[in-house]
């Protein structure tokens, strides 16, 4: 079966600085792919490319066979309706309560009767454990509840692909673990493809079918959890074993220290 998402030779540059370097990745239908990597490794940039928020310098991204880097507006619109996205900041609309936030895509893209929309919203909120909190506004929710509400909104149109950007960032370990369980449950019950961007190792190894680890805009490894765990590449080991980089050895820092020592000696 053809992969649901296929990334080929993807290059992304910001102001001439290369952020993603000829990436190739296939995401199979129904799998949970975790994009893992440190801060600034390019995982959120890759995610923004996959959901067509940005255009690459070169390369292609096919979603369900449609090249989203070079397609018409109507095709892009159709593709976007098949992807549900929950952003790192949840990105709920503060002027709408939780119910209206979840109902928004249904009101905009379907001709369902208000009573049916109400029912669908309740089902989506119940699926993420927020059925009793629909009348609250985003500012009245905790961090974990906001993320769950964002997942409920992402699920509203019944997407084939669920994309979660740093779902457990800024949450305490218990809430983060609850969110992991929710992702597993949703994947099992709704049989959807899930893409998760994270740098939380426990979370990544709990929910992933496969992991793609990014380092400075390139994949350092792509494989199953066991394959990644067994990988002996220094980059992968450094990340997995949480070995700190030696900041004093970086050229900018050492140059600064040298200058400081010289001026101290002169003084």
């Amino acid at each position: 079966m053809a992969p649901i998402i296929s990334v080929r030779d993807l290059v992304v540059e910001y102001d001439g600085r290369r952020v993603l370097n000829e990436l190739n990745l296939d995401i199979e239908r129904g799998e949970t792919m975790v994009l893992l990597g440190g801060s600034g490794s390019g995982k959120s940039t890759l995610l923004r490319q996959i959901i067509a928020l940005e255009r690459p310098k070169s390369g292609t991204i096919q979603v369900n066979g449609t090249d989203i880097t070079n397609c018409s507006k109507s095709e892009l619109k159709k593709m976007r309706r098949s992807i549900g996205v929950a952003f790192q900041s949840a990105a709920l609309f503060n002027s709408l309560n939780v119910e209206d936030n979840v109902a928004l895509p249904l009101r905009e893209h379907t001709r369902l009767a208000p009573s049916i929309i109400e029912l669908v919203v309740w089902i989506k909120l119940a699926a993420v454990g927020l059925a009793d909190y629909g009348k609250l506004f985003p500012q009245e929710l905790s961090g974990g509840m906001k993320k769950r509400a964002a997942v409920a909104r992402a699920l509203a149109l019944g997407p084939e692909i669920l994309v979660l950007d740093e779902p457990s960032a800024g949450l305490d370990p218990i809430v983060a673990a609850e969110l992991d369980e929710l992702i597993l449950l949703l994947k099992e019950t709704l049989q959807m493809t899930v893409i998760v961007v994270t740098h939380e190792l426990p979370s990544a190894f709990r929910i992933a079918d496969r992991i793609a680890m990014l380092y400075q805009g390139s994949f350092s490894t792509v494989g199953t959890k066991d394959e990644v765990k067994a990988n002996q590449s220094p980059r992968v080991r450094q990340f997995l074993d949480r070995i700190p980089g030696d900041i004093a050895k970086t050229s900018a820092v050492s140059a600064h220290f040298e200058k400081y020592l010289h001026s101290a000696e002169a003084y």
């Binding site: 923004r48 959901i51 928020l53 892009l76 619109k77 976007r80 309706r81 992807i83 996205v85 952003f87 790192q88 900041s89 990105a91 709920l92 609309f93 928004l104 895509p105 009101r107 905009e108 893209h109």
Partner: protein, 267 residues
């Protein structure tokens, strides 16, 4: 010397880029505005437009009225102090009536709306950008121009001329009160002189200006919001810039319109 030229070139390109962005946004708004119209458009957009009209128009009425009353008094008093010397106190009525309908009414309203609503547009859209709400709209296959900008622009196009009429009325009434207390000119006679002084062309000219001012305020406010980069501090900067630029552009547009009317209309 090279630095100076480089600086001038850089600033010129920056300003041209701004004007270009303003034009692109304006055309996009015109295309999207049909969706914000009642009956033929999307009912949620029309609802948003009505909400915006209340915020731009109704909520600003006390402020605009008070500004017009104060300016009406000032205008009448300053005019009277000079015209009294020539025994032409009666012409204070002409001065206030023509001055308000052609110039002061639309200009005062635009300055008030720019300070209240232009800054609010920039802050709202800038915050939506920082909190990824605009991205969230895009991934839900919703156009931010249609969803956010079109209702604001349509509301400004309707509200600003209405507020200008309110401003005209209060300014002229203030002039009438001054004439009543200073030379005991009866309200009936004052109104008679007012209608003698102004004609339909003056009112229409003021309203055309108001429509243009409303467009400038909405477009600049929204563009500043869309151009927010980085964190919350840039939202603050964008609100200040929105007020400064829209006020400046309103005055420039006023000068251009007044010159056009002056040179094209037979005296």
């Amino acid at each position: 010397m090279a630095d100076v030229l480089e600086n001038i070139g850089e600033k010129t390109i920056e300003h041209l880029d701004y004007v270009g962005s303003l034009n692109i946004q304006w055309w996009a708004t015109i295309r999207a505005m049909a969706q914000a119209l009642p009956f033929i458009g999307n009912r949620y957009r029309w609802r948003a437009t009505v909400k915006q009209m209340l915020e731009i128009g109704v909520d600003a009425m006390p402020m605009v009225s008070l500004m017009a009353i104060c300016t009406g008094f000032i205008f009448a008093m300053q005019g009277a102090s000079e015209l009294r010397r020539f025994g032409a106190l009666r012409y204070v009525v002409d001065l206030v009536a023509v001055g308000f309908t052609r110039e002061l009414g639309p200009l005062l309203t635009a300055i008030a709306v720019s300070g209240r609503s232009g800054s609010a547009f920039a802050a709202e859209i800038g915050t939506m950008k920082v909190t990824e709400e605009l991205d969230s709209l895009r991934v839900m296959a919703l156009d931010p121009v249609e969803f956010v900008l079109a209702p604001k622009c349509l509301a400004a196009l309707i509200s600003v001329p209405c507020l200008s009429i309110v401003s005209n009325v209060f300014g002229i009434v203030a002039g009438g009160l001054f004439m009543l207390f200073s030379i005991h000119l009866t309200p009936a006679l004052y109104l008679h002189y007012v209608f003698e002084a102004i004609d339909l062309r003056d009112v229409v000219m003021g309203l055309i200006k108001s429509v243009v001012f409303g467009t400038i305020i909405a477009q600049v406010g929204c563009l500043e919001g869309f151009r927010v980069r980085g964190g919350p501090d840039s939202v603050g900067r964008s609100t200040t810039t929105a007020v400064v630029k829209s006020t400046f552009l309103v005055i420039v547009a006023d000068a251009i319109f007044t010159a056009i009317f002056y040179f094209t209309v037979k005296h």
